[in-house]
Amino acid sequence: MALINVAAREIHCKIVYYGPGMCGKTTNLRYIHSQVPKEVKGDLLSIATETERTLFFDFLPLDLGKVRGFQTRFHLYTVPGQVLYERTRVAVLNGADGVVFVADSNKSKMQENVNSLKELAQNITRQNKRFAEFPIVMQYNKRDLPKEVLAPVQTMDHFLGVTRMHWPRVEAVATVGTGVFETLRAISRAVISKL
């Protein structure tokens, strides 16, 4: 649910990066933080364990400046991917306007992707939102994996129901930034269209 402050002429939107553990959600945010102009970004805030696994969330505020007189801000969050933190994900997802689902392209991670997506659907529905209409962009990350372990895009589409749900889908290598901004553009557009 976006917040529109007419008096202060501000619009705030919340975008959450969701997906199984180690799929690259924090890497997406780090890359965005490293690339956007200084005047656009705030500090990247990470609540992580000593081993740099996300414990609660990462948070990156982006200030898009004035659009038709409205100061527009996007707040990007990641959830902790590990199965253990299911309830934490529910907490971070609270009030989200759109979700980027980061799927791991490793063949062996397909079941984890599917489980995480199912959980996302449940959590969105619990917020009294219709999952089928909720703005979601699918990112297939780690497309640079060796061929032996790389899941074909069609296989992932099939397992994750991407074609059926008509979600925009982006192939990415978040460590080097490939597809990161394409994903951000896609989710931003999807969120704006629902405002």
Binding site: M1, A2, L3, I4, N5, V6, A7, A8, H12, K14, V36, P37, V40, G42, D43, L45, F56, F57, F59, P61, L62, L64, G65, V67, R68, F70, T72, R73, H75, Y77, R87, T88, V90, A91, V92, N94, G95, A96, D97, Q127, N128, K129, R130, E133, F134, G177, V180, F181, E182, L184, R185, S188, R189, I192, S193, K194, L195
Partner: protein, 164 residues
């Protein structure tokens, strides 16, 4: 209305009510400052001497703490934790929920008694709850605020700022 398509729009006059309410709360309790947040962590208004640059991060973290405590409540089969208190060496934070949608947060030091903060916060949350109720009923204003030209400009801005 489809909850998917609803945005909370705070009109000018309601924001003034909110600001007055927060200013009064800060003055009457002698607190450092008060914040009103949306449950998604966005700051609706902040009043007091907290001219802090990190207020955006503060909003995100406090909303996170609150959302997290809500999940704890569910595990304990408690309906909700309506308020929470965090005690520091110098500063304390008292947080109260307004109708599952907004979070009122008061930051105060040793000079202010927690009892006073609790009582006056209760009064302020009642007042803010009626503001929220009015804001929710004014949804029709959205199309006046966000026309199709806004969305087009927004998309242009997105393409410009988020390029590879």
């Amino acid at each position: 209305m489809d909850p998917q398509l609803t945005s909370i729009i705070v009109p000018t006059e309601e924001l003034r009510h909110i600001e007055e309410c927060l200013v009064r709360l800060v003055e009457d309790t002698g607190s450092d400052y008060a914040l009103l947040l949306d449950k998604s962590g966005q700051v609706i208004s902040s009043q007091g001497d907290g001219d802090r640059q990190d207020i955006t991060a503060l909003g995100a973290l406090i909303a996170g703490v609150f959302a997290s405590s809500r999940e704890v409540a569910k595990l304990l089969r408690e309906r909700d934790f309506r308020a929470s208190f965090q005690q520091g060496v110098r500063e304390n934070i008292f947080i109260a929920l307004i109708e599952e949608q907004w979070i009122l947060c008061i930051i105060f030091n040793k000079g202010t008694h927690i009892g006073l903060v609790k009582v006056l916060t209760k009064k302020a949350t009642d007042e803010l709850a009626s503001v929220l109720e009015r804001v929710r009923q004014q949804h029709k204003a959205r199309d006046e605020v966000l026309g199709s030209s806004f969305r087009t400009s927004m998309e242009d801005t997105i393409d410009l700022l988020f390029r590879d």
